[in-house]
């Protein structure tokens, strides 16, 4: 389970709002190490899913928080 999560989809609890999507897209879409990403605005945790084999949890947290959002790994 752990290795599956780490190698494919990383999930985070964030405070990203639908209005922030444009700003975020600009960054995430140009990050070549991210294959695909989505945000679940219908969930209470505004869950960010990042599909990547090259970035670590820490990398993503750093990236998202540098944009001014809160971001922490969603625990299992």
């Amino acid at each position: 389970m752990y290795s599956e999560t780490i190698s494919e989809i990383l999930v985070f609890r964030t405070n990203i709002q639908p209005d922030d999507a444009t700003q975020l897209s600009a960054t995430l879409n140009t990050e070549t190490k991210i294959r695909h990403w989505t945000i679940d605005f219908t969930d209470v945790d505004n869950v960010l899913c990042v599909h990547t084999t090259q970035l670590t949890v820490e990398n993503v947290v750093e990236l998202i928080t540098s944009l001014g959002f809160s971001c922490e790994e969603l625990p299992d």
Binding site: M1, T5, D40, T42, D76
Partner: protein, 197 residues
């Protein structure tokens, strides 16, 4: 390419329905669900796009299950009395055997999800129910009524009896109540009387 694990998906679906029934829609979060189903949150997002998608997918599989059980032995060309009896038996059986699923469908009905879900209703099922009513009106076995009035008279008495049955108690609380075929036939007879021209 990751393959779908049916056991995992089934566990996610089962726990999600339980969560909505026990705690309402606000009580369902992907993180809580992952914990309850014994999977990682990432796994849920393999199967479902987001929380709303999960809720709608749950509705689709549950409504299909209900429609299937409702149409068992049913034919829209049946006489009104016979067809309604088959439907009562099927509806009662479904509700009693699937209390969680039945409750979940009710919750959707009175939520903002209802509008999205209603559009995904199988047209075949709706058409069969309509044909049954139109046939009965043509044969003068049923009075013409607004659909909500028809539904309330034709099915609400049954669902109230199912509720008593599920609680195991009748109107006065202390009395034991069990919905059996005898009670159902008695009620159905009274309902048919009210619906005949």
């Amino acid at each position: 390419m990751r393959t779908r694990d049916e056991n995992k998906e089934a566990a996610i679906r089962q726990k999600a329905i339980e969560m909505v029934v026990d705690e309402g829609f606000d009580g369902l979060s992907m993180q809580k669900l992952a914990k309850a189903a014994g999977v990682s949150p990432a796994t849920i997002y393999i199967y479902f796009k987001d929380r709303d998608d999960l809720i709608i997918q749950l509705w689709i599989s549950e409504i299909n299950k209900m429609s299937e059980s409702m149409l068992k032995g049913f034919d829209p060309s049946m006489s009104f009395e016979e067809g309604l009896k088959v439907q009562w038996m099927n509806r009662a059986r479904y509700s009693i055997e699937n209390p969680m699923g039945a409750h979940f469908l009710e919750q959707i009905k009175y939520s903002p999800y209802h509008e999205i879900c209603a559009k995904k209703m199988k047209p075949k099922f709706v058409a069969m129910m309509q044909a049954f009513v139109i046939n009965a009106i043509k044969r003068k076995e049923l009075i013409k009524l607004p659909v909500e009035v028809y539904w309330s008279l034709a099915f609400a008495p049954l669902y109230q009896l199912v509720k008593y049955h599920m609680s195991g108690r009748g109107v006065r609380g202390a009395d034991k109540f069990e919905l059996d075929e005898k009670i159902m036939t008695l009620t159905l007879k009274a309902v048919l009387k009210g619906l005949k021209p």
